[in-house]
């Protein structure tokens, strides 16, 4: 039934690998945690359904009339969702090209490479679709429960979006291979993936600021100006939105287009996938030559050597630089808001928590690179430096980078309000220190190239880092508003950190 070398046999193999990859991601490689993970997922799903009720409940109960305004908002939301899926799909395709894993085995086996890669592309697409359905399901479930079964068609729309994103990601990556070559494709594709994920959100915010002076994306989507610019109500652009609203013809069309694009991508690209993988494997990293004659050793302490090494490695790796600094891209709208609203109190109240939140997230990434992403852990561990001094030097490297990035923002704020600048500075320092500490507690040796998959090492670290940053941002916002209520989120943040420390495998640090 499952003859070796057949499509179903390869599909079974790929599904098994994908399932185990997912399990490892959720349990950080510890099978004993499986029941705890499932219990946590159930609780999380319940919470997300509550959130979904708050967001879409009123629409489901009231019903949505498919006028142009509604179609524009739904289409924009679907485009936003699709950009996130596209970003994830490009990351998956790039990984399939460049992560060697079993490619040597596959390409040297007598099995038909076209067949293997067809299954591999399909598995990638299915994982993207599964992720999309998981993310969207709480909202669709609430809409169905409150508004009727016609909303169930949204599942098919989401699946079609996933298939379309996978097809476009494969096509775009292969096009890059052919135009800029395998050496540049890896870096460019990963940067493009990150930018696609961020660009739409940032674009909406920038448009919102320029039009209405607010960071809110909803304002611009509900604006008359956008409605006037949008295509006519009968446009094909609105078919996905019409499908969401329960129009069966549009639903069938969207699904057919999605599947057809995906099938086309598999047919066209699976035969060349192996060639591109071989080309990717043949990429020589070619050591870049540095200036030789003037290079001198500088007298340094171990702490200086460690700090300098961390900064040097970060600056020299454009991909890591782009990944870590991607969060700074999200600071562009607040910076624009500061410039536009100079002298207006409300803008500052929005800016302070955004800065604090961004600092926490950036510090978490940098701390992961400095601790878990150490490329020569044996060398550092066998150096005559105490473990505490090593960690202190690495934390200093992280905080130094944070200071460089956020100093211009705080300085800009100080021109407007010294009090708010002080609140922002304290918030940024505390959020960055908290995120760094979480990464220290949960550090787990990994390659720097696995930066984007760092959450695999611990879901707990990811949640603790994110929620502590959110709480510090909330505390900063309330403090900026001048209320003592700021103490409440600050205490919650401390509670999150205490819980993370208690749950961490390294309570002694």
């Amino acid at each position: 039934m499952n003859q070796p070398g057949t499509l179903t046999w390869f599909a079974r193999h790929e599904c098994r690998l994908a399932w185990r990859d997912w399990l490892a991601m959720m349990t950080a490689g510890r099978r004993r945690r499986l029941s705890t993970v499932f219990a946590a997922l159930i609780v999380f799903a319940a919470g997300i359904h509550g959130l979904a009720y708050a967001v879409v409940g009123r629409f489901a109960e009231r019903g949505i009339h498919p006028d142009k305004a509604a179609l524009v908002i739904i289409t924009s939301s679907l485009l936003l969702f699709w950009s996130l899926l596209m970003s994830q799909a490009m990351e998956s395709v790039t990984r399939a090209f460049y992560a060697r894993s079993d490619l040597d085995l596959i390409l040297t086996s007598p099995a038909a490479a076209r067949r293997v890669f067809a299954v591999r592309i399909a598995t990638m697409a299915l994982s993207i679709v599964a992720m999309a359905l998981l993310l969207a399901s709480p909202f669709i479930n609430m809409l169905t429960a409150l508004g009727g079964t016609r909303w169930l068609g949204t599942y098919a729309v989401v699946a079609a979006l996933g298939f379309t994103a996978a097809a476009c990601a494969v096509a775009l990556t292969v096009a890059m291979f052919r135009t800029i070559g395998p050496r540049r494709t890896r870096f460019v594709a990963q940067v493009v993936a990150a930018v696609i994920g961020a660009a739409f959100v940032i674009g909406l915010q920038v448009a919102g600021i320029l039009s209405y002076g607010t960071l809110s994306r909803v304002e611009i989507l509900q604006s008359d100006a956008l409605e006037a610019l949008a295509p006519d109500i009968g446009s094909i652009v609105y078919w996905p939105a019409r499908a969401v609203l329960g129009e069966y013809a549009a639903l069938v069309a969207v699904l057919v287009v999605g599947l057809a694009l995906f099938a086309g991508a598999v047919l066209v690209f699976s035969s060349r996938f192996g060639d591109h993988a071989i080309a990717a494997a043949g990429v020589s990293h070619g050591g870049e030559r540095r200036r030789a004659t003037s290079a001198r050793f500088r007298t340094s302490t171990p702490a200086w050597a460690l700090r300098h090494k961390e900064w040097r490695l970060l600056v020299r790796d454009p991909w890591l630089m782009s990944q870590t600094l991607m969060q700074i891209l999200y600071l562009a709208p607040p910076a624009l808001l500061l410039w536009r609203s100079f002298g207006e109190g409300d803008a500052v109240l929005v800016l302070v928590p955004v800065l604090v939140m961004a600092a926490g997230q950036l510090a978490g990434g940098l701390a992961w690179l400095a601790t878990s992403g150490e490329d020569a852990p044996d060398l550092v561990a066998t150096a005559p430096v105490s473990a505490r001094s090593l960690l202190a030097a690495k934390v200093e490297a992280v905080m130094g980078a944070i200071a460089i990035v956020f100093a211009p923002f705080v300085t800009g704020l100080a021109f407007f309000s010294a009090y708010h600048a002080a609140v922002a500075m304290i918030g940024i320092s505390v959020a960055a220190a908290s995120a760094s500490q979480v990464q220290l507690w949960f550090r787990h040796q990994a390659k720097r190239s696995h930066f984007r998959r760092r959450q695999i090492s611990s879901r707990m670290a990811t949640f603790a880092e994110a929620f502590s940053s959110i709480m510090w941002a909330a505390a900063a916002a309330l403090a900026a508003a001048g209320t003592w209520l700021a103490v409440i989120p600050a205490v919650i943040a401390l509670g999150i950190l205490a819980g993370a420390r208690w749950l961490s495998p390294r309570q002694s640090v």
């Binding site: 020589s284 990293h285 070619g286 050591g287 870049e288 030559r289 540095r290 200036r291 030789a292 290079a295 001198r296 050793f297 500088r298 007298t299 340094s300 302490t301 171990p302 200086w304 050597a305 460690l306 300098h308 090494k309 040097r312 490695l313 020299r316 790796d317 490329d375 020569a376 852990p377 044996d378 060398l379 550092v380 561990a381 066998t382 150096a383 005559p384 430096v385 105490s386």
Partner: protein, 260 residues
């Protein structure tokens, strides 16, 4: 390559370069089981054993990468468990998989290592240039390591281990993957360190290397030292005076397995 001005720690001549007593480390099962081992200064010591015998675990405990469950470790008279920083100052560790930074050049890597060991910049730079020249890396000193072959990476790691002039060098399978010329260079460097009074401990599966280079050889199996001494002494312990180290080693390990 050795700095003649190097200050010997007080009491060096009175102490073993390395002294292990009753060393124990358990994972799922005992990996090292009450190991006693001594190595003199100015001695090349080869540690042999089948896969999973406990060689790497032992050496990782010595350099501070693993903490033993019981026992003592003394490096030139310094209690490595009580004062690991002082012990690390005079040791160097090289593993079979050289861990260097792809985005640094060999020159920058050596500057970083010298900084970690707090070596004076002038002395470190002179040593670094000598080492790079001697290991044939001079032409690549200012290229990033990301395109280097395994042999070149191993040489960079070796240069890093020597740039702080350690008195005890510990190597875990250092010749794996090296071509003949590179392997000879590494062996020459190590022999010179021993001639200058340093101690070298090396694990290897290439028995000819141990046979030719080592002053004494230890055989470890099941986490315990089952034989120890010169090649002649090992042959005597194996009961086969005229055979090669390979025969003696296999006899000793087989005897231990049968006894277990």
């Amino acid at each position: 390559m050795t700095d003649p001005q190097r200050v010997q720690p007080p009491g060096t001549l009175k102490h073993w370069a390395l002294e292990l007593r009753g060393l124990i480390k358990r994972f799922e099962r005992p990996a090292v089981d009450g190991l006693d081992l001594t190595v003199r200064a100015g001695e090349f010591y080869a540690l042999l054993g089948p896969n999973g015998a406990g060689k790497t675990t032992t050496l990782k405990m010595v350099v501070g990468l693993l903490r033993p469950d019981a026992g003592s470790i003394s490096v030139l008279g310094i209690d490595a468990l009580a004062d690991p920083v002082a012990a690390k100052r005079i040791m160097a560790w090289i593993s079979d998989e050289p861990m260097i930074y792809d985005k640094l050049t060999p020159f920058e890597y050596l500057e970083f290592v010298a900084g970690l060991w707090a070596v004076d910049a002038g002395i470190a730079e002179r040593r670094a240039r000598e080492l790079l020249a001697w290991l044939g890396l001079e032409a690549h000193a200012h290229e990033r390591c990301e395109g280097f072959s395994k042999g070149m990476r191993q040489k960079v790691a070796l240069a890093g281990a020597l740039v702080h002039d350690p008195q005890l060098i510990i190597l875990d399978e250092p010749l794996t993957g090296l071509d003949a010329a590179s392997a000879r260079q590494v062996k020459t460097v190590l022999r010179e360190r021993v001639s200058a009074g340093g101690a070298v401990i090396m694990t290897t599966h290439i028995l000819e290397v141990a046979e030719r280079m080592a002053d004494r050889i230890g055989v470890i199996a099941g986490g315990r030292l089952i034989a120890n001494g010169t090649l002649e002494e090992l042959r005597a312990q194996a009961g086969k005076r005229t055979t090669s180290l390979e025969d003696a080693f296999l006899t000793l390990v087989a005897g231990e397995a049968a006894a277990a």
